[in-house]
């Protein structure tokens, strides 16, 4: 018993150290964001800010158009999220409840999209967006991602698990497919839809390469590109840079806090399927 208690103590100490290691870059970011310029300019900087200094956030917002970046990312990620929810739900409904010619072939075609990597499609897509005149536009950032096979599979899996009696009853009541889709399936699919939404939103909030290629104007940049540019502002003090980084991380943390269950469900759904 003594030995076991000792074992547990050792386990807690080891875990606490490991947690500190994993957490340190985030702690460093958040604490530095609250330090004054004087505090960060000494080496080594203090581990804790002496008091919470909010001025960095105001200054960061004034120096770079970070609010504009946040707005752009919010518009783009939210639009992609909404579009993917709609297109995926429609396709998943067709694959789950409708009979049509070449259904299996179409399903394989959808599966095959998961095999096409971005490095192969990125050059032609860039040229397409350029020739459409969509550089530096929301369309250019949104349209290529309005559908995704992952969402179709996730929702199809969920639809197929819904009780069959429900649909037989709806059919007997003379409920057509459109009404079944809107008034039975979609409301029931809310858990799976929210999983998909959290997953897609976070993915596109974090996306780096595509916005880097498609946007040049500062007013069209998304947060990830905007925050990466901070690094080149030689005049910028670290506390300002990290205040900017904290602002960008804030929505992700909020989303994680609110939707951690959904996110993990989404990831593990992918894991089980894969």
């Amino acid at each position: 018993m003594m030995l076991r208690r000792l074992n547990y103590t050792v386990l807690y100490i080891v875990l606490a150290l490991l947690a500190l290691m994993v957490l340190y870059p985030i702690i460093f970011t958040v604490f530095s964001a609250f330090m004054t310029e004087k505090e960060v300019s000494v080496f080594p900087p203090p581990l804790f800010p002496h008091h919470l200094y909010w001025g960095n956030f105001a200054k960061a917002v004034q120096t770079i158009p970070i609010l504009r970046f946040l707005l752009n990312s919010l518009i783009v990620s939210a639009a992609i999220m909404a579009c993917q929810a709609v297109t995926s739900a429609m396709a998943a409904y067709a694959f789950s409840f409708l009979q049509f010619k070449l259904k299996n072939a179409m399903f394989l075609l959808y599966l095959s999209t998961m095999m096409i990597p971005w490095e192969v499609t990125v050059i032609p897509n860039y040229l397409t967006i350029k020739s459409l005149g969509w550089m530096d536009s929301y369309q250019g950032l949104i349209v290529p991602f309005m559908a995704g096979a992952f969402g179709v599979f996730l929702l199809r899996q969920f639809f197929l698990q819904l009780p069959h009696e429900l649909f037989d009853a709806a059919k007997i009541d003379g409920c057509g497919h459109l009404r079944t889709f809107f008034s039975i399936v979609l409301p029931l699919a809310r858990p799976a839809l929210s999983t998909l939404c959290v997953y897609v939103f976070l993915n596109h909030w974090n996306s780096y390469l595509w916005p880097l290629l498609i946007t040049n104007k500062p007013t069209m940049r998304t947060v990830q590109i905007g925050v990466a540019m901070l690094q080149h502002e030689e005049v910028m003090a670290w506390n300002l840079i990290l205040a900017g980084v904290s602002l960008v991380l804030l929505p992700s943390f909020l989303l994680l806090a609110l939707g951690v269950k959904q996110l993990i469900q989404g990831i593990t759904a992918g894991a089980v399927k894969g």
Partner: protein, 301 residues
Amino acid sequence: MSAQTQAASRKAQWKEGALGYLFLAPSLLVFICFLFYPMLRSIYLSMTLTDPRGRVADFVGLDNFKDLFSSGQFFTNLKVTLLFVLLTVPTTIIWSLVLAALTHNKLRGMKAFQFVFSLPIVISVGTGSIIWSLLFHPTAGMLNYFIGFIGISPISWLADPNWALVSVSLMTVWMNMGFVYIVLLSGLQGVPDDLYESAKIDGSGPVRTFLQIVLPLLSPTLFFVLIVSVIGAFQAFGQIHILTKGGPMDTTNVVVYSIYQDAFINFRFGIGSAQALVLFAIILALTVFQFKVLEKKVHYQ
């Protein structure tokens, strides 16, 4: 069945088919325009020379591929990519597996540890790279400050050709561990509890139980994580673009970064497409290989 009802049911069938394709239409349209068409166009582009606006100037057949394979540069980049995969994938999986094994129990406070170890999942490549570029700073970075405690002299992490790839890998492991940890932890939670009990009764210690009983049951999850991580590592771009730009002396110039440089900085879309296709073929071959060789060892329930 009368001819009339037959006709009616055929009409209903046709209507359902039309509705099916109507429901597929939006996603199908996006896939055609932004996945299938670019895939084919990529193959065509790889056999051409283009002007900076992407218009085809000349059809050169397989010359781009010949150039690639006869230049040492491409093989150097490929070697760097493979090294990056080897530095990041096993490390991330083993590290996350250890953390998952240590936190998979019903002791008090484990939820908090689980949350901490999942946290890096929200870190994007943009923010993560910026944070680490400050940590890596040769004179004012905290990393050199910490290793000073254990008597190691300062390292110029990103600027030293011997350390640059290791540094980028370190940051990548940290960034990717959240995802791998979450997947492995939920895999562990799928292992039935009574298995631990009966192993204990049989006198097997925790380490042996884990290695001999839990690990085989976890192998499908590990296999999934391995496949996804290898594919992801081959495609890592953001951290290299922000932290090292392929340098110093090309020691971090992975194939994906060289595609970016060729296509979007030098506007040589043909050679860029050729590299992308070769990389795609390599990833595909490796994935097939893993399925053929490793999947036999995977224990599906």
